[in-house]
């Protein structure tokens, strides 16, 4: 009888794992129909067998996700529910992302990213450490460095906080930095990679990358990366729509909320840009001097050759001016200060001789007047909008 039970246990296990043969399932049927007690025993065995083969199950899910990708999204109802808990938002973001980094499943981010892009941007640069501690920085260009052991975080060259992750395990602490509009930040990661964060951006990063197949970070907003070379551990930037994979290179990524702009500009090295919906498998590899732009309406990627300085100069605190670029410049300024600039098409199209650099001051009004000096316009602020007019 005991032998029999062990056999049945094995059979049910195989049935649950999906490895039972036709004859074995038929044998389960014979056993089930013998008595009601066996039916109860079956239910119990089912529960016990459930947790086996997790790695197979994870791989199955990954395959499914890759196939249907973005088509499988949590419903809006769920998002609303989360939206109410705005205080808990930053914490849940960190938790959600740490699960992701462990499980290596990209689309777990979808909900997290959607939440984060809807959350308020704070007034000061804020770091949320994995242990729940929150640090605010006063500077307009903050500098944060993690030592190469992943044990300590150095703030503004003076303050030191302990990283909370376990450096020996593959479970690092997951931290988040949020840069408000009008400010920037500079980050040195444990692997030596340097990241410049533009105004209004969020960046999620681990204390260290030890024992992980990839160096994974998450970005909402805009950042410039100078990735330290390590061919054995690719560096991946995960954004709402894309995954950027590099071995060692420098590039700029813009991934604004609501797909306002999803682009990357490569300065040096080589960069793989991959759309997360693998349903239509969109992947391009950029060469230096190229820009990839995702066109959501046409659901495709567009690659052009560009002057990279236009896209990367913000990290050094200024915007590059060039004639015929007034429209683009206005957009950059709007993004940086999170302001709305109103300017007529007539003025945008007007031939100007803009050239040089526009310093990104902490005070937006200084930038507006500098722009006016250069173009011969005037500006006034009407109902939170900055209206530019002919002098």
């Amino acid at each position: 009888m005991n032998d029999n039970l062990q056999d049945i246990e094995k059979l049910v296990g195989k049935y649950i794992d999906g490895t039972a043969s036709i004859k074995e399932i038929a044998a389960i049927h014979t056993w089930l129909s013998e008595s009601e007690a066996n039916k109860v025993a079956f239910t119990k065995l089912k529960q016990e067998c459930k947790q086996k083969q997790q790695s197979v199950a994870n791989a199955d899910w990954l395959k499914f996700e890759q196939k249907y990708g973005n088509a499988v999204k949590p419903s809006k109802k769920g998002k609303h529910l989360l939206g109410f808990i705005s205080i808990a938002a930053s914490i849940s973001l960190v938790v959600g992302v740490s699960i992701h980094l462990m499980s290596n499943i990209k689309d777990n981010y979808s909900a997290v990213l959607a939440e984060a892009s809807a959350a308020e941007v704070p007034e000061k640069t804020t770091i949320n450490l994995s242990d729940g501690e929150q640090i605010t920085l006063e500077t307009s260009h903050s500098v944060v460095e993690i030592d190469n052991q992943g044990k300590q975080i150095l703030l503004e060259d003076e303050r030191v906080v302990e990283a909370s992750g376990d450096t020996k395990s593959s479970k690092p602490g997951i931290n988040q930095i949020i840069v408000p509009y009008g400010k920037t930040a500079e980050l040195l990661l444990a692997d030596g990679t340097k990241v410049w964060l533009n105004a209004g951006s969020r960046f999620v990063f681990p204390d260290h990358f030890n024992k992980q197949p990839n160096r994974e970070v998450v970005l909402i907003g805009e950042a410039f990366f100078d990735v330290s070379h390590n061919a054995d551990q690719p560096f991946k930037v995960i954004t709402d729509e894309m995954v950027y994979t590099v071995l060692g290179t420098s590039f700029n990524i813009q991934s604004l909320p609501n797909s306002a702009s999803v682009s990357a500009v490569l300065v040096e090295g080589s960069l793989q840009v991959e759309k997360k919906t693998l349903l239509n498998k969109q992947k391009v590899i950029l060469k230096p001097g190229q820009k990839s732009q995702f066109l959501p309406k046409q659901d495709r990627m567009h690659v052009t050759n560009v002057n990279t300085a236009f896209y990367t100069s913000w990290k050094d605190g200024y915007l590059v001016l060039d004639k015929n670029r007034l429209g683009k410049l206005i957009k950059q300024i709007e993004q940086f200060y999170h302001s709305e600039l109103v300017i007529s098409n007539e003025l945008i199209d007007m031939p100007t001789q803009l050239s040089g650099k526009l310093l990104l001051n902490e005070d937006p009004e200084q930038v507006y007047s500098a722009l006016c000096d250069l173009t011969g316009m005037t500006y006034r602020i009407v109902a939170n909008k900055v209206v530019f007019e002919k002098q």
Binding site: Y15, G18, D60
Partner: protein
């Protein structure tokens, strides 16, 4: 059971993590089922994945009296039958068909589906009946070959007849099965299945 209901509720509300758990729990079991049907693992996998995808897209429309996995089971079975119409029968199919009732009952018991929808295995029961109605020797040869999967040589040795004799029995068995199953509404389907 309470746990299952909770997960079903979460899925209906659009909780992707609950769906992921659900997928991981049932994918292999259902894939095994579809593979028995189709015997082409890549096609079977597509069918099962597609069914899960449809479930997710229709999650709000699925009747609450029904378990979600029960809904999947039916969707997969119907899709497999559709697929079979375009496909030649595989060796294992008859073995599957003659055990269909038992397999179906195990899955239905597992997925808490009503055992009463008899029309479900009408076709399968007919196949079984047809096999059983063959003359004794012919049935024995047919079963040894198609259900137990022995080679013609093995059967010849076992029954002390020639290989030619084995082949003849199988040809005649197939002919008999075809004519016996001709009256079924799903005749085209069934005939396409038999070699």
């Amino acid at each position: 059971m309470i746990q299952e209901k909770k997960i079903a509720q979460q899925i209906r509300e659009g909780n992707l993590e609950a769906f992921q758990e659900f997928y991981k729990s049932y994918f292999r079991r259902l894939l095994n089922y579809a593979t028995m049907f189709i015997n082409q693992s890549d096609v079977a996998e597509d069918i099962v994945q597609e069914a899960f995808f449809k479930l997710w897209n229709n999650r709000e429309a699925i009747n609450e009296d029904q378990t979600l996995v029960g809904w999947l089971y039916r969707a997969i079975r119907n899709q497999c039958i559709n697929q079979l119409k375009q496909q030649k029968v595989h060796e294992k199919f008859i073995e599957f068909a003659s055990n269909y009732e038992a397999i179906d009952k195990v899955y239905k018991h597992d997925f808490d589906l009503s055992l009463n929808d008899a029309d479900d295995f009408y076709v399968w029961a007919e196949i079984k009946k047809a096999i059983e109605s063959l003359p004794e020797k012919r049935r024995e040869v047919y079963q040894l070959s198609k259900i137990e999967g022995h080679s013609h040589n093995e059967i010849a040795k076992e029954l002390a007849i020639t290989t030619k004799g084995v082949e003849r029995h199988i040809t005649l068995a197939n002919r008999a099965l075809r004519s016996k199953l001709k009256h079924l509404k799903t005749a085209i389907f069934v005939l396409a299945l038999l070699p």
